[in-house]
Symmetry: C2
């Protein structure tokens, strides 16, 4: 799995672009984050990462504990007491829309730079931005792609219109005339899977066509090339919790269909150039950057030392937080070794020179002070339930080298209110 490799080169760009968040920071992040190595100062040394579905809401319905909990997280003027970032694998929308929706539901102000969507890190993958990309998803996918930096965007509907003979599963949408002229398009150069689309049969057929024809779906696919053109996928979540009693299909299910069909037809494995969104480390790294920027705005003079990630999905939220925790620990070891080798060096510089091979899924170079750890807190208001038998089925993505230990949360609590109370207790900070 070459998931993170391309992110290496893009990572530095994140700090200057990260979807507008950096604009609100007066000092340059690359200098402002060289803090001294002082012990945590009690207050001001932690941040919170909230999953949304199954933690704060179920479908359109607010989970009761959430409103109460958020009231206690802001002061009398509505300002957050600690950095708060929402990390969701939702992707079929804009950050602005998600922030407005959360503000309304939680009755506190949520700004777009507190929101990490599954596709947010795509902004860093600049090597794809000039390619002609086919985008799959629903909602404002074209606008989302443009906002992320993609310049030449083709939607599934545009492809259907250009090649009207391809999508014939639905009898009523088949071309009325026998031989509609094919308008054609220049070749597709990459495929971006944003989130679960509508009419899976159409998306599956057209994406497999594009992959089998090297981006020219009007060509005969007798000389199929493999590996196919790059495929980038956001949000691997198999299931998520809405109002129904049982979990609902997520984008991960669409990916299972696409992988299975491509394999059945061609005999080859579908390859991902990048798989982003939780549990990928790059998503947490991005969230951590937003947390640090908020800490600065709060006037905290020490770096954020601990992160607490609250989620309902062991395979996504818990796995991701624990994987990121491992990454942070490995970064620390690398720093310590570097300091030992350089005879101690200046502890106040405290940089991690390189952490290029931390785990099989992490290879992002960092040059700034990272948190010491990330705790995972599992709530029982979503996908996970205390009553359920032990999960014997792997609900993670095909390409994830599965480590069962990483699905074990640091803490299990009933709901998000208990989770936040636990964090403040751990930090020795009364939650008024």
């Amino acid at each position: 799995m070459q998931r993170i490799k391309p992110l290496k080169t893009g990572w530095q760009l994140l700090k200057s672009s990260c979807e507008g968040a950096a604009k609100q920071v007066n000092t340059s992040p690359s200098t402002s984050r060289y803090y001294s190595h002082r012990p945590p100062q009690g207050r001001g040394s932690f941040g919170l990462l909230f999953d949304i579905d199954g933690v704060l809401v179920r479908g359109r319905t607010l989970i009761p504990a959430a409103k109460q909990c958020f009231r206690s997280l802001v002061d009398g003027e509505g300002k957050y007491k600690v950095p708060v970032v929402f990390v969701t694998n939702a992707g079929n929308c804009m950050r602005q829309t998600k922030a407005e929706h959360l503000s309304e539901l939680l009755d506190v102000q949520v700004s777009p730079d507190q929101v990490v969507l599954s596709h947010s890190p795509l902004r860093m993958l600049t090597q794809f931005h000039k390619m002609r990309v086919l985008v799959s998803g629903q909602g404002p996918v074209e606008e989302v792609a443009h906002n992320l930096g993609f310049q030449d965007v083709v939607t599934i509907d545009m492809l259907r219109e250009a090649y009207s003979l391809l999508d014939v599963v639905d009898h009523s949408r088949r071309p009325k005339h026998n031989t509609p002229s094919s308008k054609g398009l220049p070749p597709i150069e990459a495929v971006i899977l944003f989130g679960e689309p509508i009419r899976w049969e159409t998306n599956l057929q057209l994406i497999v066509d594009v992959l089998q024809t090297n981006g020219n779906p009007d060509d005969v696919c007798s000389a199929m090339r493999y590996p196919h053109i790059p495929v980038l996928a956001c949000n691997m979540d198999l299931l998520w919790m809405a109002e129904a009693k049982n979990p609902r299909f997520g984008h991960g299910m669409f990916l299972v269909c696409l992988e299975s069909l491509y394999k059945k037809v061609t005999g080859y494995d579908l390859k991902y150039e990048a798989l982003i969104g939780k549990p990928s480390v790059v998503t947490y790294n991005y969230a951590e950057l937003l947390v640090s920027q908020q800490a600065e705005r709060l006037g905290w003079n020490t770096p954020v030392k601990r992160l607490y990630a609250i989620g309902d999905n062991p395979m996504s939220d818990i796995y991701g937080a624990n994987l990121y925790n491992n990454y942070l620990q490995a970064c620390q070891r690398t720093t310590a070794q570097a300091q030992t080798r350089s005879g101690g060096g200046d502890p106040s510089a405290g940089t991690v020179a390189a952490a290029s091979k931390v785990t099989s899924t992490v290879a992002v170079g960092v040059e700034e002070e990272l948190p010491e750890g990330c705790s995972s807190i599992l709530v029982c208001t979503g996908v996970y339930s205390r009553d359920q038998q032990e999960q014997h089925v792997f609900h993670g993505h095909r390409d994830f080298r599965f480590d069962p230990a990483l699905t074990q949360p640091s803490f299990v609590v009933e709901d998000v209110k208990e989770a936040v109370e636990l964090v403040f207790q751990q930090e020795g900070w009364p939650l008024d």
Copy 2:
């Protein structure tokens, strides 16, 4: 694979019900088919089985050779010179509609009792007819199901309406109100997959829900039962040939998705109670019955000795015809052995007492004289092309014990006209 087992008991029913075909036969098929064991009489000893897509049409477009060929198959009064049956894996329509469509395209009269659709043999599976069945497909699926004998039919749309919280992939179709009351339905007892549906995400979600909840999709699926309720599927074709240059997704692709998702979520294999349509033997057996009935109407006084199946899909048409040919041969060996054991017996009786274990996929008892063989003729106007590299990928169904030899046709010809000319030449019958 228990595919054919339930057909055993239903087989005898076929002869009296077979979708109206028997009604036009004056003499009872069970008596009228005891012919004497005379050698074939030149004329009047063969029948033709035509696949439709890729042989006669591509999408809505007639393949030129087809019209010409059918003109030569009828006499001056438009009556067929030999028995002709159309055996298609299409299923999202009625036999009547298909016959009318063919009549119009081919400019010869095609009657519904010349048409075998993928679901036609379901009429025999009477043990399921009184169950509450969930049907998946498009077009008049409810009407098709009723016509086949199913009395209590629930469509996917009815299920969506009854349980409005289940189908939430499409954001715009999610319930507008927070807690819509669930009207509920009595439990679903079996699932019938007729053909490729529209909005695969909806069908996949609801079918998996039904299988995980023992037919009660509003229940929590913590105590999932396995094996799940019976699933019957018609038409396993992975791909088929329409107007586009490359093959299009068929119902087999939907089945791959369903199998993959069920496996990913539950860890168990999806089980089929029956898989019907080509290449299943039962479909050819059914087609052969229709051929014999036509032969009787033509006044032929000898049983049909040879069948010729013309198709474009090696995995469906050719595999099925060859599998059926093996079945016919095995039936003959069984008959010969029975005659030897009984000291010769009366050769004019000539019955095959039982052929219950011919191949792993065939277990239909027969008590009448069957053809001696079935030849397979592959045309190059559809899925198969002479230019294509040898197929290294298995495009058959997961549950088919694959025998590569069965994909080898008896003959390869350019198109259906050449196929029919070849047959008449083989039979020593000039085709005027």
